[in-house]
Subunit: 183 residues, 4 copies
């Protein structure tokens, strides 16, 4: 089975980071993307607290949590950088958050369309190769998220350009946990 | 004991109502005022759901629920009518909501200063005479709110201009709530 | 309208009290009775915490909270005084709790049958005259309970043997709650 | 690093299973043991619902959930098989539950002492080799449990009697998930 490599997010701005982040630069890590709108009740009550919990449960060396603010309604209300910055401040959300780039002729912003998302909250999880391994609209249990992220962390990972045949599994693997999380 | 009659709210706009509402016109009813900001987590998770529950528990003939949006920080983010309208729509809040009139030289809006509020959420309850009977910053139990509102509903109420001496308690009480339901 | 005076509870034992309690001796107070079984999940998660909240919200001089343990299934498991005592201890329930007297030929104990209860949890509220004013099977909102108890507290109450005609409403009411608190 | 192989549970009875279960027969699976008392509020509100969630999240082929009822207080109240059976029935707990064998001279039952548990709830997780990998008294987050169980599932596992050198890791591992879950 092969999975689709996630296309880069199309963003107009970033908060909680000093520079824009590309998915390409995160290869080797699992990436958890929480897609939200600040006026979406399900995002506020469940999706964003869950993303925070992911950031607290896993090491930043292993898992990177990103937010993506996809304003597809109430643009006047939630479409400004100031509004989003205030929201992140009040809700004490500290992971990097991108603003989905608005489309010229549509309400739906560019990344939302590119990924064919159905709404917010949407949870997207990428494996160490940048492949989309989960793409779900709506609520998910914490226990399932914990298991899925860990499953991706424990997949064998070889930096690109190498093949499994190049590696020496006997060296990398131990009973304690298994293969080569951060080569 | 005497209580202070609540001064009129100083508002710049209203939502969820066809016309501005004065406290004066609500004499004879208990008034429950939920003071909030749309980016205040405690308001979103507790204060506003409680105000909705008050609106659902008591008859509109007895208790009027009002929201007051007092933007004292993040003015750019939550200061517009559009932002508030979108918020009320998404959170399905249907009671009338006033926007506290901004002050000329201060971050704190006019009603917030007039009432000397300490922050959001703040709960203010007025008796049938428009007197302030509760004024509390922070979280309150639903059971206590239920008891306090009912206690005010069951106080004897005489339209202004009449005194107790004018009334005949045996028959003087109105439909609005009040005394001797089960003699 | 007239209400039915609650018949005395038929009990085989009491906990959290030095002597058996009769409803007759509680005339003048509102009585909140939480009917439960220790192995009933809805009682443990909702009914009993609500009864505790009633006990904490209102003064003992005004409102008496009683528990009634009505074992109508799993008699071997929850039918002993020891089991109930352990349960009350672990859940830190301190209000008096009666054990519903077992029936000779039926699974359903005597008070449960006498009151024609439909199951547990059941909430029964008596007014100052000992009349049944609420009798509900299942879950109820805290705000509604708060309002209902306060409504009963604010009803005029005359010690038995007196009639309203005997009283002088301007001064006839007692300290316990009741009419004209803020004329 | 080596881990201690969990000693067999010392049990006096089992529920929700047709025959007593040994840890030895579960080699090759991850084992999640929820240690509880039916009158322990933290077990009822958090530990047991979490154990149920583990049973629902993971396949029985991979993870076996066991309960262990360790009565170390209120023996009269919760010490009978009937009481426990009624409790499991009312709370709809369907995984196998063992009763910790009582000690002759002590309140603390045998397995509880053998494992040096500090109280209830206690969560114990064994890897596919039957080794104790988690042993925690008190509350744990669902997300952490999900991650820990999955981490153990994704460890390489060789049936006993084989060594890593005997295996051919190149055959067993794929990108999708990795090594030898159920040999």
């Amino acid at each position: 089975m092969t999975f689709k490599v996630a296309p880069e997010l199309r963003t107009s701005d970033w908060l909680n980071t000093h520079h824009p982040i590309t998915l390409a630069e995160l290869r080797g890590k699992v990436v958890f993307i929480e897609v939200f709108q600040m006026l979406c009740p399900g995002c506020v009550s469940h999706g964003l607290p869950q993303a925070q919990k992911v950031a607290q449960t896993f090491s930043r060396d292993d898992v990177v949590v990103l937010g993506l603010h996809t304003v597809f309604e109430h643009h006047a209300a939630q479409g400004t950088r100031e509004a989003l910055a205030a929201f992140l401040h009040e809700y004490k959300l500290t992971f990097p958050v991108a603003i989905d780039a608005p489309s010229k002729n549509k309400a739906i912003p560019q990344t939302m369309e590119l990924y064919q998302m159905r709404g917010t909250p949407t949870t997207i999880i990428l494996d160490r190769h940048g492949q989309i391994r989960k793409h779900k609209f709506g609520r998910e249990e914490d226990m399932i998220i914990g298991a899925e992220v860990m499953a991706l962390l424990r997949e064998p990972y070889l930096p690109e350009g190498q093949s499994l045949a190049d590696s020496d599994p006997a060296k990398g693997c131990t009973d304690e946990g298994c293969p080569v999380p951060n080569p």
